[in-house]
C-alpha cells in the first residue's frame, strides 16, 4: 500500500456565531495515500468543505480549528501563514466549485496561470513560464491554447473556466489535488470532460486527488476510497465497492435507497425523512438518531465512534446489524 500523504486526526472546526458555536467538523480522521482518489460525500452542510479548508488555512476568521492535519509529515494546523501559502498552489493544488469567484476578472487566464507558476518558481525565465502555460492549457484539453491564453474569464464558458482552474491547480506539479465540487455547476457532458481531464492528470503525475461531491454517481466512477460525512463527522468510510455494496451505516444505506437511477425505473424511492440536526444544537448521542429507523435507546445517549466492521469503518452502535435490520423492515413493508 502506498505511503500516507495526508493524514487528519481528530480534526475539528467550530464557527463562532451569535448565541453559540456551529460545530461544523467534529473529530475527522481522513487518510489520503499517494496516487489514490479519495471521495468525500455528504449532504449540504455536513462539513465537507470546512474539513479541507481547515487544513489549507482558508476558513473564515470566525473559525476555530483543532486537531491535527499532516501533509508529508508537516503539521498544517497552526502552521505559519507563509508555510501554508507555499503549500497551496505548490505541493497542494486546489479546484473549487465556482471558478468565476476564484478567477480574477481583469487578468487574462494565461496571465493568471503564469502568476501561479511564478509565485512558486520565481527564477523561471518568462519564456519558459509562457511555454508552460500553453502546455498546461493543452493538458486540460483547451482547444487553441495559444489563442485562449489571451482570453478573460468572462469570455470563456463555465467548463473552460473550470479547466483553467485545473491548469492553475496543477501548474506546479502538486502531490495532492483537492477538488471541491469541481463539476457541480456544469452540465453532464462537460462534467464528463472535466472528470476525464482530472483522471488523466492523476494517472500521468501519480498525484493524489481528494474529490468533494454530493454526487454518489461521480464518486462511484472515480474514487478508490470514500468517506461519508454527516453533521460534521465521517460516519462511514471504506473502499468504494465496499461502501456501495457492503455498507453498514443506516445513513449510507439510506442515501443509496433514495437515489433515482438512470438504469432502472419503477423502483420506489425511500426518502430518509426528517432533516440533519442544527450544528449549534447537536443532540447528545448519535447525530442521525432523529432520522434513524433502527435507533436503540443507547443511540440517544452515546455518540458512536468510528470503528472497523468487516471491510468498512462505521460510526454506529448497531452496525453490523443495522443495515440487515433495515432490509428486514423493507421486506415487511413490501
Amino acid at each position: 500500500m502506498n505511503e500516507v500523504l495526508l493524514q487528519t486526526r481528530d480534526l475539528g472546526v467550530e464557527f463562532a456565531v451569535s448565541g453559540g458555536a456551529v460545530h461544523a467538523v467534529r473529530g475527522v480522521d481522513i487518510d489520503v495515500r499517494r496516487g489514490e482518489v479519495v471521495g468525500i460525500v455528504g449532504e449540504s452542510g455536513s462539513g465537507k468543505s470546512a474539513t479541507m479548508l481547515a487544513l489549507l488555512g482558508l476558513l473564515a476568521p470566525n473559525a476555530k480549528v483543532h486537531g491535527s492535519a499532516s501533509f508529508n509529515g508537516i503539521e498544517m494546523i497552526g502552521a505559519p501563514h507563509e508555510q501554508l501559502r507555499a503549500l497551496r498552489g505548490g505541493r497542494i493544488g486546489m479546484v473549487f466549485q465556482d471558478p468565476m469567484t476564484s478567477l480574477n476578472p481583469v487578468l487574462t487566464v494565461g496571465r493568471q496561470i503564469a502568476e501561479a507558476i511564478e509565485v512558486h518558481q520565481p527564477t523561471l525565465r518568462p519564456k519558459r513560464v509562457m511555454a508552460r502555460v500553453q502546455e498546461l492549457l493543452e493538458v486540460v484539453a483547451i482547444p487553441n491554447a495559444s489563442e485562449r491564453m489571451r482570453a478573460y474569464p468572462h469570455e470563456l464558458s463555465g467548463g473552460m473556466r473550470q479547466r483553467v482552474m485545473i491548469a492553475m491547480a496543477v501548474a506546479n506539479d502538486p502531490e495532492l489535488i483537492i477538488a471541491d465540487e469541481p463539476t457541480t455547476a456544469l452540465d453532464v457532458t462537460i462534467q464528463a470532460q472535466i472528470l476525464t481531464v482530472l483522471a488523466d492528470l492523476r494517472s500521468r503525475t501519480n498525484s493524489a486527488l481528494v474529490i468533494i461531491t454530493h454526487d454518489l454517481g461521480v464518486v462511484a466512477g472515480v474514487a478508490d476510497r470514500v468517506n461519508v460525512m454527516y453533521a460534521g463527522r465521517v460516519v462511514e468510510r471504506g473502499p468504494v465497492e465496499e461502501l456501495f455494496y457492503r455498507n453498514q451505516h443506516p445513513y449510507t444505506a439510506g442515501l443509496l435507497a433514495c437515489l433515482p437511477r438512470l438504469d432502472t425505473r419503477g423502483r420506489d424511492l425511500e426518502p430518509i425523512g426528517g432533516a440533519p440536526p442544527l450544528l449549534d444544537h447537536l443532540p447528545k448521542g448519535c447525530a442521525f438518531v432523529s432520522r434513524c429507523k433502527v435507533a436503540e435507546p443507547r443511540c440517544h445517549d452515546v455518540d458512536p465512534q468510528l470503528r472497523d466492521v468487516g471491510t468498512v469503518s462505521v460510526a454506529c452502535h448497531v452496525a453490523p446489524a443495522a443495515t440487515s435490520a433495515m432490509k428486514a423492515m423493507k421486506a415487511v413493508d413490501a
Binding site: 482547444p143 453532464v188 462534467q191 454517481g217 465497492e241 439510506g254 437511477r261 438512470l262 426518502p271
Partner: protein, 346 residues
C-alpha cells in the same frame, strides 16, 4: 365522465412550432443587435395525467419553452393549445381565467416566495386574484397543507423559517390552490439534497395520481427524469432532437446527442459505472445567437458528414417507433454496456 377514447386522442396540451427569440446586443465588434433563438420550433403533446420531461444542457431552451406554455412569456410564433383552446386567440381577461388551469413551480423555492409574507398570505394571494371566496379558499389550503405534510400552524410562519424541502412543498401548494390541470415544474428538486429530493419526487408522484395532474417537467438530472416521466423530449440549442416514451429514449436512443448525454450521466454503482462506455463530447454547445448551419449538433457530433452542414434534419420517425432529428440515426442502448467506436470530430 368524458369518453375515454376521446380523452386519449385529445391531448391536454398541444404545442406546435413554438418559437421564442430574445433581442440582445451582440458581443461582436460592431455592437449590433442580434437575436437569441432560445426556442426554435418546438412541437409536442402532453396528455392528461402524464408527465413529459424536457432535458438537455444549460441554455437549450427548456425554461423558455415552459414559460411560453404557461404564458409567463409570449411566444414569438407558434401555437399553444390547452384543453382544445388556442391560448394565442384569447383576450387578456379570458387568458387570466384560463391561467388558473396551468401553474408553474420554480427551481429556487427561496427566491420565488415573498420573504415578507407569511405562508398563509402567499397561498391566499392567487385565490384572491381569481376571486375564490375566502371560506372555500381556506378549506383548499388546509387540505393541501395536510396533503404535503405541513401543519396548519405553519401558515403563520415566514418562508425563511422553513427548510429547503419544506419551502419547495409550499411552492407546490401555491401552484395547486387554483386546482390546475397542468403544472410546469422547472428544476423543482435541483436545489435540494438527495434525501429531501426523494421526498419531493414521491410527493409529486402522489399528487399526480390523486389529483390527475399533468406535469411538464424540467430537470438536468437524467436519473430523476427517468424515474418520473412517461415521455421525454431531449432538447439541443432550441430544438427537440429526440422524443419518445421513457424506455424509448433511455434504452433505444438514436440521436448522437441523446446518447452522449446518457453516457455522461453517472450511475451510483461502481461496477456498472466503471464498465460503461464513455462518450466524451468535444467542446461546448455553440451560441444560440449564431447557431451552426444545418444540424445544430454537428460541431460536436462524431458522426457528422457534409450533409449535416447543409441540411437541417427534421424530427421524424425513421422507422424505430419514436422521433429523431438526425440524418444518420442508429439505435443504441448506451446505459447498458455495449462496445461502440466513438471518435471525436476533427
Amino acid at each position: 365522465m368524458t369518453d375515454l377514447t376521446q380523452a386519449a386522442a385529445q391531448p391536454l396540451l398541444k404545442v406546435r412550432d413554438l418559437v421564442k427569440s430574445f433581442p440582445v446586443r451582440s458581443s461582436g465588434f460592431r455592437g449590433g443587435r442580434g437575436l437569441v433563438h432560445a426556442v426554435a420550433g418546438v412541437s409536442f403533446d402532453l396528455h392528461q395525467g402524464q408527465t413529459l420531461s424536457l432535458v438537455g444542457e444549460s441554455g437549450c431552451g427548456k425554461s423558455t419553452t415552459a414559460r411560453c406554455v404557461v404564458r409567463i412569456l409570449d411566444p414569438t410564433s407558434g401555437q399553444v393549445e390547452f384543453d382544445g383552446v388556442d391560448l394565442g386567440t384569447l383576450d387578456a381577461a379570458a387568458l387570466r381565467s384560463a391561467r388558473s388551469k396551468f401553474q408553474m413551480v420554480f427551481q429556487d423555492p427561496q427566491a420565488s416566495l415573498n420573504p415578507r409574507m407569511t405562508v398563509g398570505e402567499i397561498l391566499a394571494e392567487p385565490l384572491k386574484i381569481h376571486h375564490i371566496p375566502g371560506a372555500e379558499g381556506r378549506e383548499r389550503i388546509r387540505e393541501l397543507m395536510s396533503l404535503v405534510q405541513l401543519r396548519s400552524a405553519d401558515l403563520d410562519r415566514y418562508p425563511h423559517q422553513f427548510s429547503g424541502g419544506q419551502r419547495q412543498r409550499i411552492g407546490i401548494v401555491r401552484a395547486l390552490v387554483l386546482e390546475p390541470k397542468l403544472i410546469a415544474l422547472d428544476e423543482p428538486v435541483s436545489a435540494l439534497d438527495v434525501s429531501i429530493q426523494a421526498e419531493i419526487i414521491r410527493l409529486l408522484e402522489r399528487l399526480r395520481d390523486q389529483l390527475g395532474l399533468s406535469y411538464l417537467f424540467i430537470a438536468h438530472d437524467l436519473s430523476v427524469v427517468r424515474h418520473l416521466s412517461e415521455h421525454v423530449a431531449v432538447m439541443y440549442l432550441g430544438k427537440i432532437v429526440e422524443s419518445g416514451t421513457n424506455d424509448e429514449v433511455y434504452e433505444q436512443s438514436a440521436h448522437p446527442y441523446t446518447q452522449a448525454l446518457l453516457a455522461a450521466a453517472p450511475i451510483p454503482d461502481p461496477l456498472i459505472e466503471r464498465s460503461r462506455d464513455r462518450i466524451v463530447l468535444a467542446g461546448d454547445p455553440p451560441s444560440p445567437i449564431d447557431p451552426p448551419s444545418g444540424c445544430h449538433f454537428r460541431t460536436r457530433c462524431w458522426k457528422a458528414q457534409d450533409r449535416c452542414a447543409e441540411e437541417a434534419p427534421v424530427l421524424a420517425d425513421p422507422g424505430i417507433g419514436h422521433l429523431v432529428a438526425c440524418h444518420f440515426p442508429e439505435v443504441s442502448n448506451v446505459i447498458v454496456q455495449q462496445p461502440v467506436d466513438f471518435r471525436r470530430p476533427t
